[in-house]
């Protein structure tokens, strides 16, 4: 009985965090965000060398074959650094879906290249969670029709994985005929989403997803877990920055951290955020190890981190006073990242409702 990270897991997280500290400083994030680039190529490819792309890809396919907890630890580090990389879709959701439903040929074609960082795969499943501005996606004799909104990490993705309304998953070439990719701009410039208009776009079905929605659900669960972990990392950074600022900033001849009001804001952030770490760890562990609890815990991790993240993002900004809302400290990159994670793959109210169904309360 040991509810803790293993030595290897701690080392993994440290190595990623350590690299990001030097390889992906705020200045680099700014360049990408202000330049409107889809991702920080240098960071993304260096992460491939650190095994990030292949974390969930089996060793037979050139990955490192680790589990969801390791994937979450990486996400936490990426969130802490607001790293502009297509991790959630390309390194987590797509590999999970391919492993669960892909044919051997599909796996051999894609997984090794994904692990090597040669291809980026975007994922479009939001119609299957909550359709907006779309009548859904229909597969008809090898082609897709309809519209996939908010396709994650889609800008400059080499391939897309799109879910149709029957829950089946399809590989779609975003540059192929019948597919139009329109970039959508959100507050979070460290990740990309796009609208994909499908007008008979050639699509390759993942056979394992034809008869079962499980592969789709597994990909969504994994995606929600890493979004939660990303928020955990981002919120922890905001709290750390707030505490550091409260120790150094002086007003009325005192450092503001000595004022109860500021001190208690920091304490409330910590009190809300610290248990989130254990929730994310458990949910990520349960994903594979405790299947009967996996989906429920993924829902709770996603919804609870969304709420706590919003609270921390707001309070940490408040502690910074006026500085918090300027671009000088760049605090808003974390604020917006947390806002983005909150809505993608299901806003809290919807995800909680799913948790009720999973528990058969309704």
């Amino acid at each position: 009985m040991d509810f803790a990270l293993s030595e290897e897991q701690r080392m993994l997280q440290d190595s990623i965090a350590g690299y990001l500290e030097s390889g992906c400083p705020l200045a680099r994030v700014r360049e990408v965000a202000e330049g409107g680039a889809a991702r920080a190529e240098d960071v993304w490819s260096e992460l491939a060398n650190l095994g990030v792309h292949g974390v969930l890809i089996a060793e037979d396919y050139g990955g490192v074959g680790l589990g969801c907890l390791e994937a979450a630890l990486i996400a936490e580090a990426l969130g802490a650094a607001v790293a502009p990389v297509p991790y959630v879709a390309s390194a987590v959701m797509a590999p999970v879906a391919l492993a669960a439903a892909g044919s051997d040929e599909q796996k051999e074609t894609w997984l090794p290249r994904m692990a090597a960082g040669e291809v980026v795969v975007g994922v479009g499943v939001s119609e299957q969670i909550g359709r907006r501005e779309s009548d859904g996606v229909v597969a008809r004799d090898g082609a897709l029709h309809g519209k996939a909104m908010f396709v994650l990490d889609a800008a400059e993705a080499d391939m897309l994985l799109v879910a149709s309304d029957d829950g089946a998953l399809h590989l779609v070439d975003p540059t192929g005929s019948g597919a139009t990719r329109n970039k959508l701009k959100t507050i979070d410039r460290t990740r990309t989403v796009a609208e994909i208009v499908l007008d008979g776009a050639g699509a390759e079905l993942l056979p394992g997803s034809a008869a079962s929605r499980e592969p789709l659900r597994a990909a969504i669960d994994a995606g929600r877990l890493v979004l939660a972990a990303d928020t955990l990392g981002a919120a922890q950074t905001m709290l750390d920055k707030a505490v550091a600022y409260a120790k150094e900033r002086r007003q009325f001849n005192r450092v503001i951290g000595s004022f109860q009001a500021v001190k208690h804001m920091c304490a409330e952030m910590a009190a809300d955020l610290e248990p989130c770490r254990s929730l994310v760890w458990y949910a990520a562990h349960a994903y594979a190890a405790i299947p009967e609890e996996g989906r429920l815990m993924a829902c709770h991790a996603k919804a609870h981190l969304a709420e706590v993240g919003t609270f921390v993002a707001r309070k940490a900004t408040e502690v910074h006073g006026g500085m918090g809302i300027t671009d000088l400290l760049g605090l808003h990159y974390w604020f917006k990242r947390i806002g983005f994670n909150r809505q993608l793959l299901g806003a809290p109210e919807r995800v909680r409702e799913e948790a009720a169904r999973v528990q058969e309360w309704v």
């Binding site: 908010f150 959508l184 001849n253 900004t317 408040e318 918090g324 671009d327 809505q343 806003a347």
Partner: protein, 393 residues
Amino acid sequence: MDLEYSPEYQAFRDEVRTFLVENKHKAPNVPSAKNSPKAWQQLLIEHGYAARTIPRQYGGYGAEPDILKTRIIAEEFARARVPPGHSGDNRLVPTVLELGTEEQKKWLVPPSVRGEMTWCQGYSEPGSGSDLASLSTKAELDGDEWVVNGQKIWTSGAQNADMMFCLARTEPDAPKHNGISYLVFSMDTPGIDVRPLVTMTGDAFFNEVFFTDVRVPKEQIVGKRGEGWFVANTTLRYERGGLGDPNEAENRFNRIIDIMRRETVGGERLIDNPVYRDRLLKLQGRILAMKFNGMRVLSHNIKGEEPGMPRWIVKLNGCELNHQMAGLAIDVLGELGLLYDGSPYLRDAGFWQARYMLDLGLVIGGGTAQIQKNMIGERALGLPKEPKVDATA
């Protein structure tokens, strides 16, 4: 409780409406060569819809103060979606009229009222946010001129303003609150460097302003030398006078209702989601309470009574409610609520994300929520101040 307007005021409202119907084509927001903000302001002054209570000899309309008429004007201009007039600068002008010399009034008020002299406020400094009196920008007398050195921050509109009213320390040896003077000078004075301050919304609404040996004529002090703190508080008092659209919160709330009736997720109208709906209703209750609280404050003001607690809580609650409204709008819109920056499918031109961030800024800025709570606790509830800590601590 009398929520009716007396015949006099109903007549006044009709008069304003008629004016707007007949003249709104002249408003500067209508694309037309002839329509200039200044011409519009001039027209409004002539009719008493701008600079209403400023004496005629200083370019105003010269009416008696009448809070209700001021409010009716604000309401009707907002209703007609027509840009309202101004009274020069609702911080500087009343201050000069109350504490300035005759020369200063003649020099500063008329052009300000005409919109030919615009102002920015030089109060906050990097080292003194909530603790304004600790400001360190200094002005030293050199012959007939003040030589100003230091830095200001949160100076909105500094890029375009013609003039600044500015707090600077003129008596270095005097205690904190004394020793500050209220200077006015042109933004073209050599030695002034304005640098835009980009905020999280992406806009540069604020600026940093740096002073290097800025020379200001000796007589350009409003009020007595060393009494700038008192003068500034006069200004702060007036700032509240400036009346935007009193019903803005309610209008904003109604826009959320529209969104929730119009938008769907998974084919279901947002308003048909009981959890979103309950959040909407909770907010409605609080917004209505604040609306009626505002009517109560207004009634006190009309009667020249100090509203007390109902006024103390307005800023704290108002900013918080606006922030929460924006948060709800974003949440119900889900992924669509994240869109920004002219994206396809953007709703309300990105209004809600912008407000979510701006209103958080307002919760923080101009006396943070913490300072607001201190004021409510100390001034309204009479709780004792924190024990002071001297500079050596």
